[in-house]
């Protein structure tokens, strides 16, 4: 799950903190497995942003792989 942050200019902000998202460590978990990934999140409150292409692409593949493990 590398290159999750390869989008160009970040134009998503956290509304609560009015902060531009930055890349940070996030832990994703499924079916008893967890792994760290670099994702955009709010530098202040930590709210994590998962874009559509990531959810339907690599994350979906990871889900299927873990389900068949």
């Amino acid at each position: 799950m590398k290159d999750n942050t390869a989008q160009s200019d970040m134009n998503i902000i956290c509304v609560k903190c009015n902060a531009v998202l930055t890349i940070g460590k996030v832990t994703l978990a499924y079916m008893g497995n967890s792994f760290p990934v670099d994702l955009y999140k709010c530098p202040q409150c930590g709210l994590v942003y998962i874009p559509e292409d990531l959810a339907l692409g690599k994350m979906n593949m990871a889900e299927k792989a873990l389900e068949d493990k």
Binding site: N11, I12, K16, S34, Y49, I50, L56, N60, E67, D68
Partner: protein
């Protein structure tokens, strides 16, 4: 599934059994392989196949008596395939080519073969090819034995010499004019010198051979028919010495091969009898359907006594049916999808269940089966892949190995139908007992809520003793998903509600409900709405069928429900339509793509299942299961539900009506319950207002269908974002983006405020959890 059960299931699938010709051939020549090679004009490949089984292909291709022909399926149509002529085509073209032999290192054990007939020569070629030095003792002055009696015209000597030239390359010493049996060539002396002896001296020498065995308790030669071991240790015998005057060349070669197998085992101190497999001629149990195969007489060679021309050979090869079974695979898109057949699939399922660490490659295969039972119906041995798959699903659920995403949506949909939003059990308005209860099922309520009300009102008018109403789900998604405990709980919930109504008999309007309820409550008094209406009378309204043909699709769960089949057809006729039978119907009907939840496990296979079914007739279809109808309509097939006929709504809009969306289906069920309570029972029911008001454009609605996201899921995300303030903003579009994880799935929604509602721009979901 334990190993014993696996073997049992595997043995039920006969696809790998040889065709009749190969089984009938004493040495099991791969006739299909030769035919396929000749069709392609690849004679070297055909010849290689023949020589792999027969050490003397030239000879056999001229004088074989073709026992294979007796078991050829074409006999049932016209004439069997001319196998020997095809073998001859291969042999004539390629027999003279240099044969490369790779000999293993020479072994120390030596073998004596007495008699240079075809059986002895076969033993010699076979054993020498394995590296055992062989000495052949032949009384005459040439090798070949009784085949030397054939004329030059039938069996050219040059061909024999060419076949026998193999001995020049093998560690074989041929001793001519060496009559064994007495003096220095006595059997005793030979067997002292050699590690194993084979006697193949021909039927005419039987008396002489018997005399060699005078020192044994039986006082004569006795040959075990399975191993060809005689009553003297390490001495084997076969050929026409054993079979008698009715000998044939191919029988002798077969005996030679059986003896070589035994001698090889004997020299390695292995069991002579353990797992030998099939030897000699036998009847295959392979089933091959020959209906639809066109008759065409066997191709005769242009000139009698000559072989085929290439064109003749190809034409004769084309006549071969290439026998195989595949009865189930031919009719099932799901089974065809994995490019093999149940014998292989059963093994894959077993392996999948046995894996401790590693990838479960067959999960999708196990979960995509419609469990419809067509394969069982078509299989000559009634092997049911559905049973294999449902057992596997249950095991996967028990072990926590069922992929959660596969059945999550239908199971949640079932939970909705069995929640207070839809669940209902009531006596007929104004009555306090029920002789019958109507259970329309959740899918009819989702697609046709208005019909549920109409039909219930009609039933109320005509039923004596009161007809109650029960809404809910029968538990089919749990059953199909392998959730046995959940299924049993659902059934007992149904039983309790039925009991609260005084255990009336049940009338169902969904074949799946009937199936599940009968399965769960074997002594339940149950009847389908269609046979009930056919028996007691349809609503009295004008019928508008005007003789038009409708093709009936029987639902797969009602495969064996003959009464139901008849009632449905009767209603169609009473409605003024003509009944058209699809090619596979009644007990041979196919699934619509929904059964077994296949549509959730593999949408593409389900799409092909639907596609195949709807192309079986040009006529409009009619079904008595709303899922069947909806699936056909989803691919543009004009299809009616039988209720369309009963209420005379057989116009274009009912034939082309698309299946309502997933959110709509749940909403329809909830509204159905509310409106029935209000309108029939006069109860006051509060409307459940959504948490937030949404505006969902059509484009987004189709995204939601594809991704199985409900409006209620979206509503939860927006409400959560608006209540907590946890949301992002896209600075380019100004849209908000937020997520919420109500249960296992995390939903994302892109939205913007739109007056008093929220306009939805996009939505997606994932299952990986964001843990920090």
């Amino acid at each position: 599934m334990d190993q014993e059960r696996l073997y049992e299931l595997e043995s039920m699938c006969i696809q790998e059994c040889p065709p009749g010709c190969t089984a009938g051939c004493p040495v099991h020549v791969d006739v299909r392989g030769i035919v396929t090679a000749v069709r392609k004009g690849d004679y070297p490949a055909g010849f290689a196949i023949l020589r792999k089984t027969v050490p003397f292909p030239g000879i056999i291709s001229r004088i074989c008596t073709e026992p294979c022909k007796n078991s050829c399926k074409r006999n049932e149509l016209d004439e069997s395939i001319e196998v020997r002529q095809l073998e001859r085509s291969c042999s004539d073209k390629c027999g003279s080519a240099e044969q490369k032999i790779l000999l293993p290192p020479l072994k120390s054990q030596k073998i004596a073969v007495i008699g240079a007939g075809l059986s002895g020569l076969t033993v010699a070629a076979d054993m020498a090819g394995k590296g055992f030095p062989v000495a052949i003792f032949e009384a005459g002055n040439g090798i070949g034995g009784s085949i030397l009696e054939f004329s030059e015209e039938i069996l050219p000597r040059g061909l024999m010499e060419s076949d026998f030239s193999i001995f020049d390359k093998l560690p074989v010493e041929i001793k001519l004019n060496a009559a064994a049996g007495k003096d220095e060539l006595s059997l005793e002396l030979i067997s002292n010198e050699y590690d194993a002896v084979y006697i193949g001296t021909g039927y005419e020498s039987r008396t002489a051979a018997d005399s060699w065995f005078s020192g044994t308790p039986e006082k004569r030669l006795v040959i075990d028919s399975g191993t060809l071991l005689t009553n003297i240790p390490k001495v084997f015998a076969g050929g026409s010495l054993r079979t008698g005057e009715s000998r044939t060349a191919v029988d002798s070669i077969s005996d030679g091969k059986i003896a070589a197998n035994s001698i090889n085992r004997f020299l390695q101190n292995a069991s002579l009898t353990a797992s030998r497999g099939k030897e000699g001629s036998y009847n295959s149990i392979l089933y091959t359907d020959i209906s639809g195969v066109k008759t065409s007489p066997a191709v005769k060679a242009y000139e009698t006594g000559r072989g085929y021309s290439e064109d003749e050979a190809r034409r004769e090869a084309e006549r071969c049916i290439l026998c195989q079974c595949l009865e189930c695979v031919k009719k099932c898109e799901y089974l065809a999808n994995y490019k093999a057949y149940p014998k292989k699939y059963v093994r894959e399922v077993y392996n999948n269940l046995s894996i401790v660490m590693g990838i479960h490659h067959a999960n999708r295969m196990i979960n995509s089966c419609a469990l419809c039972g067509l394969c069982k119906e078509l299989c000559p041995n009634s092997l049911d892949m559905g049973e294999v798959c449902i057992d596997a699903r249950r095991l996967m659920v028990d072990r926590g190995k069922m992929p959660p995403s596969t059945h999550d949506f239908p199971l949640r949909d079932m939970a909705f139908s069995n929640s207070e939003s839809f669940l209902l059990s009531k006596h007929q308005p104004g009555m306090n007992s029920s002789s019958i209860v109507f259970f329309p099922g959740c899918q009819l309520g989702a697609t046709y809520p208005s019909y549920v009300k109409k039909i219930y009102e009609f039933l109320c008018e005509k039923t004596e003793g009161g007809i109650g109403l029960m809404l809910g789900c029968c538990g089919a998604p749990a059953f199909w998903g392998g959730q046995q405990k959940l299924f049993e709980d659902t059934i007992s919930g149904f039983s309790e509600r039925l009991k609260s109504l005084g255990n009336p008999s049940v009338v169902t309007a969904c074949p799946s409900c009937s199936y599940m309820l009968k399965l769960g409550i074997p002594d339940l008094k149950i009847e389908s709405l269609w046979s009930y209406l056919d028996r007691t009378g349809l609503p009295e309204i004008s019928r508008n069928g005007s003789g038009r043909k409708l093709a009936v699709h029987d639902s797969c769960v009602s495969r064996y429900d003959k009464d139901l089949h008849e009632s449905v057809r009767s209603i169609i006729r009473k409605s003024g339509f003509e009944v058209e039978e699809l090619p596979g119907n009644r007990e041979k009907t196919t699934c619509c793509g929904y059964g077994g939840l296949m549509i959730y496990a593999d949408r593409e296979v389900a799409r092909r299942v639907i596609g195949r079914r709807i192309n079986e007739s040009e006529s409009d279809y009619i079904s008595y299961c709303s899922m069947c109808r909806d699936n056909f309509a989803s691919q543009g097939k004009r299809s009616y539900h039988i209720l369309d006929l009963i209420f005379s709504e057989t116009d274009d809009s009912s034939a082309t009506m698309k299946m309502p969306g997933l959110s709509q289906r749940q909403e329809s069920r909830a509204r159905l319950k509310t409106s029935l309570l209000r309108e029939l029972w006069g109860e006051e029911v509060k409307d459940e207002l959504p948490e937030v008001k949404l505006t969902i454009p059509e484009r987004v609605q189709s995204i939601m269908e594809d991704r199985m996201i409900l409006a209620s899921d979206i509503s939860k995300v927006v409400a959560y974002a608006e209540n907590t303030g946890n949301r992002f903003k896209n600075t380019l579009t100004g849209n908000y983006i937020a997520y919420f994880q109500p249960q296992r799935v995390t939903y994302w929604v892109e939205y913007s405020p739109d007056g008093d509602s929220f306009l939805i721009h996009n939505t997606y979901s994932h299952r990986l959890e964001i843990t920090d």
